[in-house]
């Protein structure tokens, strides 16, 4: 135990930098993890239209944010990889559950959020006609599945405190409503998903979350002009869907 705290002190003493950009839901995941663990960090804000040398150097593979720099260690990329790293490298309340089965479950639902759920919501927002009708049904069904993961009578997916899955699905709590407004489509309603709706309010009201949640109005103003881009992304997703499930077999 002594050795562990000594190592923890060393970890904490090395400076942490997070490369991010305004408004990004995945940067939010990384920031929140750091804040929940009580890790001081320097936030470096990128303009993704004009990527810095620093970003290109530290994430040559994807050239995306967030990127975590901890001391002199090589950069860590991918938001959920960063969240698990922060959870393991630093002391503080655990973000992942302890039980292996529970860990497998939160990883599954986080992956579901980033693949099936995100895709269905995007299609529901930005396609039209029959395709959209189908996508809206699918998106709502996916929200129901996620809602089902909220433990009975608890405020968060993590139970009494915010955990890994809350962080992973945080897009639903804050960004979704903004995109809904731009698209003119409602997916998450109190009537349709009362528990999830309540969770969203709990999440965005949380003091620690608020410290790294982008301002709603500023986000709306930043995103609204890109409507056409969102529509074309949905079109690409539509055609690429055919390879996303391996033709050979499922997953």
């Amino acid at each position: 135990m002594r050795h562990q705290s000594k190592q923890a002190l060393v970890m904490m003493s090395e400076p942490v930098k997070l490369i991010g950009c305004f408004g990004s839901p995945v940067v939010h995941r990384a920031e929140l993890a750091l804040r929940l663990k009580g890790v001081p960090y320097e936030l470096i804000t990128e303009d993704l239209n004009n990527k810095s040398e620093m970003l290109l150097k530290h994430n040559p593979v994807h050239q995306k944010v967030p990127v975590l720099l901890h001391g002199d260690r090589p950069a860590i990329c991918e938001s959920l990889v960063i969240v698990e790293y922060v959870d393991e490298a630093f002391d503080g309340p655990p973000l992942m559950p302890a039980d292996p089965l529970a860990r497998a479950a939160v990883r599954f639902w986080a992956s579901f959020m980033d693949k099936e759920c995100r895709e269905s919501m995007w299609m529901a927002l930005w396609t039209d006609g029959e395709e959209q009708a189908g996508a809206i049904s699918a998106a709502k069904a996916n929200l129901t599945l996620i809602e089902g993961q909220l433990p009975e009578g608890k405020r968060f997916f993590g139970g009494d405190t915010i955990g890994f899955l809350d962080i992973a699905v945080s897009w639903i709590a804050h960004w979704m409503e903004i995109f809904e407004e731009i698209a003119g489509v409602r997916l998450l309603t109190e009537e349709g998903h009362p528990t999830l709706y309540r969770w969203a309010r709990e999440y965005t009201a949380n003091q620690t979350v608020r410290l790294c949640l982008p301002d709603r109005d500023r986000l709306l103003a930043a995103l609204a002009p890109s409507r056409e881009i969102f529509v074309s992304i949905a079109k690409t997703m539509s055609t690429q869907k055919q390879y996303s499930v391996c033709w050979i077999c499922n997953i």
Binding site: H70, I76, P100, R107, W247, I248, C249, N250
Partner: protein, 244 residues
């Protein structure tokens, strides 16, 4: 497996699947005995539909009646349940673990998607694009192997780990690709470290025990290719015409 309970392990699988192979490699490496249940994906079992209602896909690991889905998640689960038994799949150090998770994710997001496109692309252009992206991804992974292995044979170092299995699950199909399309996924001329890695990986007993039969997999690939049957018939007809 450690702990109480019946410790009964089942794996729902489909023999051609590279993702199922990943799960089998991990179980083999850790020396876990389990019941393997082959699924007919055209007619999915009740057990599969109830164990993975969201995706209705394999592999599914069922441990004491509780399902775990998705190959990357199954691998981590096996590693955590069996911490201390057999070689660790994920490294000890949190930073090394993060790197392993990053590369596992990269393999799925970039390489697997590109390879799927080379097989399933609707046009020759799409297939060619898949080929190019696959080649780029393999080149990137060559660099990753160099960084992660630190001179040892595997991503995991001396013994195979999480990333090795995530990539190794694709090796059977890489062999099929070479036979059917004449393309080496891990070409010694372009990515020498990965070429050596794939040879080393293939010689391990734990790997040989679960690798599917390549000839059988080639037959499967030929049947599944959209124009495979038509092309085979045309070739047969041409052969008959030539001998007449």
């Amino acid at each position: 497996m450690a702990g109480g309970g019946s410790n009964e392990v089942k794996l729902l699988g489909f023999w051609p699947s590279p993702y199922v192979l990943r799960a089998r490699l991990a179980l083999s490496l850790k020396g876990i005995s389990y019941e393997y249940i082959e699924e007919d994906l055209e007619s999915k079992s009740e057990l599969l539909l109830t164990s993975n209602p969201v995706q209705k896909a394999v592999p599914v690991l069922i441990h004491d009646g509780k399902p775990v889905c998705e190959s990357s998640i199954i691998l981590q689960y096996i590693d955590e349940i069996l911490a201390g038994v057999g070689p660790s799949l994920l490294p000890e150090d949190p930073h090394d673990r993060a790197m392993a998770r990053f590369w596992a994710s990269y393999i799925n997001e970039k390489l697997v998607k590109a390879l799927n496109q080379t097989w399933g692309g609707k046009t020759e252009e799409e297939k060619a694009e898949g080929m190019k992206q696959a080649a780029d991804a393999v080149e990137t992974l060559e660099g990753a192997l160099k960084d992660c292995s630190k001179g040892k044979p595997f991503f995991g170092g001396e013994s195979i780990g999480y990333v090795d299995i995530m990539l190794g699950g694709l090796l059977a199909w890489a062999d099929v690709r070479e036979v059917v399309k004449g393309v080496k996924t891990f070409d010694p001329a372009k990515t020498p470290l990965l070429a050596m890695w794939s040879d080393n990986f293939g010689t391990l007993d734990a790997v040989k025990a679960v690798m599917p039969n390549i000839g059988k997999l080639v037959d499967y690939a030929m049947v599944m290719q959209p124009h495979g049957a038509a092309a085979a018939a045309a070739a047969a007809a041409a052969a008959v015409a030539a001998t007449n």
